[in-house]
Amino acid sequence: MTMTEQVLAGHAGRKTVVPGDNIWVDVDILMTHDVCGPGTIGIFRKQFGPNAKVWDPEKVVIIPDHYIFTNDQHAHRNIDVLRAFVKEQGLPYYYDVGTDKYKGVCHIALPEEGHTRPGEVLFGTDSHTCTAGAFGEFATGIGNTDAALIMGIGKLWVKVPETMRFEFEGPLPPYLMAKDLILHIIGDIGVDGATYRAMEFAGDGVMSLSIEERMTLCNMVIEAGGKNGMIPVDAVTEQFVKSKTGKPYEPVQDNPGARFHSVRRYKSAAIEPTVAKPHSPDNRATARECHGIKLDRAYIGSCTGGKLNDFVAAATILKGRQVKTDTYIVPATTEVARGVATTKLNGETLLETFQRAGAKIAQGASCAACLGGPSDTFGRLNKSEVCISTTNRNFPGRMGSKTAQVYLASPYTVAASAITGTITDPREFL
């Protein structure tokens, strides 16, 4: 069995499963946030009764992150609904706005707080829940109705997916990031190329990546239509997870006898710095091919490209240079923001580097303009701007106005492009 099949079989109390089986699985963690939490809670109350209790308070994690720094009163009301529910249910894992516990983007907050563990099953009311496949677990996004059912019974039906395997041979050259690899893959298979399937990443190229870079790979499987991402567990995974949680877990192993839908092999060094042009993540080109396209904005943030390693990468290029285009820096979480303020590159903190370069830095960690959000959201594209971004989606209107154009790229490429004001291959600065 593939790793995905092993995890699902184990959680369905079965020895084996095959792709296509419909099974009920036990859920280890259910995550929800401010956009989908209130709807989920509404359905939970309607279906299980006004006095119903969640199946296991230890397993429900609530992370407000989407619409935080806005004056939109409806958005604030959503947070109030979460707060009241957490109190009523006595939920220990709630990261409330305006408190020391506040985190920011849920997919980055989950591992930071020890909620992602190898071999487990994680569902979240957010499509990028697949990010946690980087920890060797089954993780996928669901809607409010499914989440409400899990809240009540701790189970959900799943159709066992076929697995597509992607192997990268050789470590990444210094100008490439995981974002380039995943944009390359999506360009190959298309935005529906992995629909209903698991995407498994392996090979020494993948295993040489840091945990944050592995998260970037799994984060964007949904942009290929994938159900979940999966990366084998190794010492890098175990070391990270053990540093965050003392809870026990049982990893599954990459099994040489597993059957795959398909296996694709790439040589890491053959990949170029890659961008996805408007208006689709599979509209692939190399940064060189886009050379000279004029930009109004550069954006570095989100669950894809707003982790500490992403800012280290951006700062490597921005150090000692000035941006020519409006550049927005949005740390995904408060922990990342602390890292940006304290991590030093040649004697200067990342924050100082960004400030000296003339970038605008978000006052708080959140999803911000990754999904547009209310009109007063930091970095939102309110006109027909052309933007290069480390985020994950560039469908029309994703970052605000439906007349804006968004290019997706790695933090290296975005930083290099910010300096010249046009799309630029990062090798020019590395």
């Binding site: 669901i142 809607g143 039906w157």
Partner: protein
């Protein structure tokens, strides 16, 4: 489950993601409040670029000004319908607007699952590309047992794919009813 669905077509293209079905800035409205939830119907498909809204000509509003009910009950889409975010608001917005069925070439899985598990409308897959066959405003009739879609405006009939695995959930009336049938819910 009813046997047939009849209504006017609203035709849109490929890769219609959930941000186009219901733009993110509208996700702040309450789905539980009977009045406020109507706003989801009002803004359904408001994220589709004007030229692509209501093919073949575009520039067709899905819901009229000042109304949350759309005159179109059957949405005809291309490939990968409902891709993008997992927001169930997208599936529910269609139901609130009065959509009874979507007929697309293929679906993104979270949207498809949301439609089925929440019993918001019927998701059919076409066996051929219909967005070049059907025009916005055409009168359509879906015969569910026969698995066909008839375009009453042109007189042509098209085959739909069988609903397959999810038929049991659709017949039960959503995932809660399905879980009750499986004995997983006491309430």
């Amino acid at each position: 489950m009813q046997d047939s669905i009849r209504g006017k077509a609203y035709v849109i293209g490929d890769n219609i993601d959930t941000d186009q079905i219901i733009p993110a800035k509208h996700l702040v409205y309450s789905l539980s409040d009977p009045e406020e939830r109507k706003l989801y119907g009002k803004y359904a498909f408001s994220g589709v670029p004007d030229a692509a809204a209501g093919l073949p000509h575009g520039n067709v509003k899905f819901a009229p000004e000042n109304d949350y009910r759309s005159p179109y009950q059957i949405v005809v889409g291309g490939k990968n319908f409902g891709c993008g975010s997992s927001r169930e608001h997208a599936a529910e917005a269609l139901q609130i607007a009065g959509v009874q069925a979507v007929v697309a070439e293929s679906y993104a899985r979270i949207f498809y699952r949301n439609v089925v598990d929440g019993a918001f409308c019927m998701p059919f897959e076409s066996t051929q590309r219909l967005i070049t066959e059907v025009k916005t405003g055409d009168e359509l009739e879906i015969d569910i047992p026969a698995g066909t879609l008839k375009n009453l405006s042109s007189g042509k009939t098209y085959r739909l794919r069988p609903l397959g695995d999810v038929l049991d959930i659709i017949k039960a009336g959503g995932v809660f009813a399905y879980a009750r049938q499986a004995g997983l819910l006491k309430t």
